[in-house]
């Protein structure tokens, strides 16, 4: 996170960032091919458990961060629920045509969107960006010029936010109100993008030259302030997800929530 928040360190913070990253990507790819809503609900329960009990942040903050998840749920599911194809009509009003098939498919999409969102937030809440990039350099052999560029860029974000605030005030005080429609929309983008981009490019250019002079490009014989390795917690996270996977599979067969096994083929 750009601003340091106070939180309790948990075992999730101690996991190797590269490992955590790859594991989350692997889960993403796996879950894209899960078409069984019973299984998906169980995975959602597993991810929510990780989010609420092991991220080490206070409950109030976790609930606040969780609000956009509802938006994700709504945006991922509504189109499919209202306009999806299907045979068994539940509700029909003008263009809106809700069928049993589209309803379940939409809910499935909504839940999946939430699982991805939760896993993503669990990752960002428990990983410091600096450690992530050090780990990517050490474990996945990311070139230092990319890693240090990212880290420098992240450090520049607070300055950029401050600039944005100044810009907003400056435009407001001068009574700059954009026109309407697509032209006004473009003018609004321009009023913010041009000053922000030009200032930031100048600054980035200056910093990059200084970094090159300081040999940040050096690949060989590099020493690192942070040495990142593996620990027993990496195994613990892997076991957690294997456990969730096995339980989810077991529960979806023996205690299904819906009588549907594949949202793509219902009938």
């Amino acid at each position: 996170m750009p601003f340091e928040l106070s939180y309790r360190q948990t075992w999730l913070h101690k996991i190797n960032p590269s490992f955590k990253f790859l594991l989350v990507i692997a889960l993403f790819i796996y879950l894209i091919f899960v078409d069984n809503p019973n299984l998906m609900v169980n995975y959602a329960i597993g991810s929510v458990g990780l989010y609420f009990f092991f991220t080490g942040h206070p409950w109030k903050r976790l609930l606040l961060i969780a609000l956009p998840f509802l938006l994700v749920f709504v945006t991922s599911s509504t189109s499919m629920i209202f306009f999806g194809e299907g045979e068994e009509t539940l509700f029909n009003w003008g263009l809106v045509h809700i069928t049993k098939e589209s309803l379940f498919r939409g809910l499935h999409l909504g839940i999946r969107g939430m699982v991805f969102a939760i896993l993503g937030v669990v990752f960002s809440l428990t990983t410091r960006p600096v450690l992530l990039f050090y780990s990517l350099m050490q474990q996945l052999k990311l070139k230092p010029k990319y890693a240090y560029s990212f880290m420098a860029a992240i450090r520049l974000l607070p300055i950029m936010l401050e600039e944005l605030q100044t810009l907003r005030h400056a435009l407001k005080v001068r009574g700059a109100v954009g026109g309407k429609g697509i032209r006004g929309f473009y003018e609004k983008i321009k009023a913010f993008a041009i000053p922000m981009l030009s200032q930031s490019i100048r600054r980035a250019h200056r910093i990059a030259i200084a970094m090159e002079a300081k040999r940040f490009l050096n690949v060989n014989n590099r020493t690192n302030y942070y040495q990142i390795g593996f620990s027993k917690f990496d195994v613990l996270l892997l076991l957690y997800f294997i456990g969730v996977g096995v339980l989810a599979q077991f529960a979806s067969v023996n205690f299904p929530y819906f009588g549907i096994e594949d949202v793509r083929v219902i009938g």
């Binding site: 990752f123 560029s149 520049l156 950029m160 990059a208 970094m211």
Partner: protein, 193 residues
């Protein structure tokens, strides 16, 4: 010209990308609000998620910049807790890759509005392809699916193509682009005179 991107190119690309990453983060709620109306109107706004690649390419004009920009923007949105989570990374990778492919097919020699519009279009197409698996869009009613495809591609061309072109054109007047662009034959000819 030395091989690959220099640290300057990378840092500038990432900064540009992070600015757009922040815009993406703000764009999410707007997109969400519009999408509750149904009818796929939100798809017109989708093109904003392709703009980092085209703007960065137009500014720096080097191979690899479009892909890096789109990935960095997605990564920025991700590590700052964007509500779409890891989904953004996968989409970012695909969109950046296809935009890069368009620029490569012009051998990185064309910097006009048509080229970036094509890149926006390519990003739009790949996002639709991912949606077939991720969003089951193949199972939408036909008229709705056509609206989704149409609006998304129109939005992609207008925002990632036309807007990106005009933004960079305006940016050229500030003079910052000359800091980061590679020297061209025009520049060398100017030295001879």
């Amino acid at each position: 010209m030395s091989k690959g991107l220099k640290l300057t190119d990378i840092l500038v690309t990432i900064i540009i990308a992070l600015i757009f990453g922040a815009i993406y983060k703000l764009w999410g709620p707007l997109y969400g609000i519009v999408s509750t109306f149904g009818l796929q109107l939100e798809q017109l706004l989708y093109g904003m998620w392709f703009i980092a690649a085209t703007v960065a390419y137009l500014i720096i004009r080097k191979p690899g910049v479009a892909l890096l920009a789109e990935l960095a923007a997605a990564h920025g949105e991700f590590i700052f807790g964007g509500e779409w989570g890891i989904t953004t990374l996968i989409y970012g990778l695909g969109q950046g890759f296809f935009a890069e492919f368009i620029f490569a097919s012009f051998r990185y020699q064309k910097y006009n509005m048509v080229t970036v519009s094509l890149a926006g279009l390519a990003s739009g197409i790949v996002s639709l392809l991912i949606d077939v698996y991720y969003g089951y869009i193949g199972d939408l009613a036909m008229w709705n699916l056509l609206m989704l495809i149409g609006f998304r591609l129109i939005g992609a061309v207008i925002i990632a193509g036309v807007f990106a072109h005009f933004i960079v054109q305006a940016l050229e007047k500030t003079g910052v682009t000359s800091l980061v662009r590679p020297a061209t034959s025009v520049d060398y000819d100017a030295l001879d005179q």
